[in-house]
Amino acid sequence: MTLAEGVQLVSFGLLAAMMIGTALGVVLLSNIVYSAFLLGGVFISMAGMYLLLNAGFVAAAQVLVYVGAVNVLILFGIMLVNKQEDFKVIPRAWIGKLATAVVCVGLFALLSTMVIGTPWALSTETAAGDGATVLIGMHLFSDYLLPFELASVLLLMALVGAIILARREYIPDEPAETAVSDALTLPERPRDLVPAGKSDVD
């Protein structure tokens, strides 16, 4: 990335502030839909960070996969289980929250002292820059070929597993006569249809 150092520093500061702010919003806001949209903000600022780190390809993949797929998937999940419910109040829940906050701050302090105290062996080579995309392709098809293929199989398994898990469970009333024609279909409980255009507050 050929940017002036001041520009890099300012954009890092802006992206860091945006990332921390939106991440806190994701965790702390009470409305889950706002949280989901703020999660998109975290992903976008993460892509900006990747651009600052000379990784244009991964930044594009981040925007495509996270903002375009994962965030939309989470929004769909919220819409599918959108139940306005007031959670039952647990007595002394603040103790757990306080303990978690203390543990998290302690972990952050530990990590920061480690990060600052360690003498990192910084490399002086020039970054691959825009050639990184070619390098990633070379890696994927030479020394990382096996993980690449395994990832493809894992994605297929996740696809099938998600469909099986999310379908409505089917309990047949009578033992099914072995029909050959629908041997490859997945039986599913029929849903009770909601009339269109009807609000649920009547």
Binding site: E5, L9, F12, A16, M19, I20, A23, L24, V26, V27, I32, S35, L39, V42, M46, M49, Y50, L53, A55, V58, Q62, V65, Y66, A69, V70, L73, I74, G77, I78, V81, K83, E85, F87, K88, G96, K97, T100, C104, L107, F108, L111, S112, W120, L122, S123, A128, A132, L135, I136, H139, Y144, A151, L154, L155, A158, L159, G161, A162, L165, A166
Partner: protein, 102 residues
């Protein structure tokens, strides 16, 4: 010049926010979102190390691509599990999902 330490500190902060959300939220979907935050923090670490310690070969970027792949699969399966639990228990409250607890 931006130092490596800045990125590592930022990733640590994001990871801690993710852990806090993971432990304290009661909505299942928010728990999934916190897991995504933590995965992103790890990715930022990988990319920072790739850029500062090993810039010529870009191995960290390959790792980050793999992590993004696994995270997408995890989100899909996680949401499917959430949907099926929601159909069983008719709630999204983490405290009600104690089928295996007592």
């Amino acid at each position: 010049m931006i130092q490596l330490e800045y990125f590592l500190l930022l990733a640590a902060a994001l990871f801690c926010i993710g852990i806090y959300g993971l432990v304290t939220s009661r909505n299942v979907i928010r728990v999934l979102m916190s897991i995504e935050l933590m995965l992103n923090a790890v990715n930022l670490n990988l990319m920072a190390f790739s850029n500062y310690l090993d810039p010529a070969t870009a191995r960290g970027q390959v790792f980050a691509v793999f992590v993004i792949t696994i995270a997408a699969a995890e989100a899909a399966v996680g949401l499917a599990i959430v949907l099926s639990i929601y159909r069983n228990r008719d709630t999204v409250d983490m405290e009600q999902f104690n089928l295996l607890k007592w």
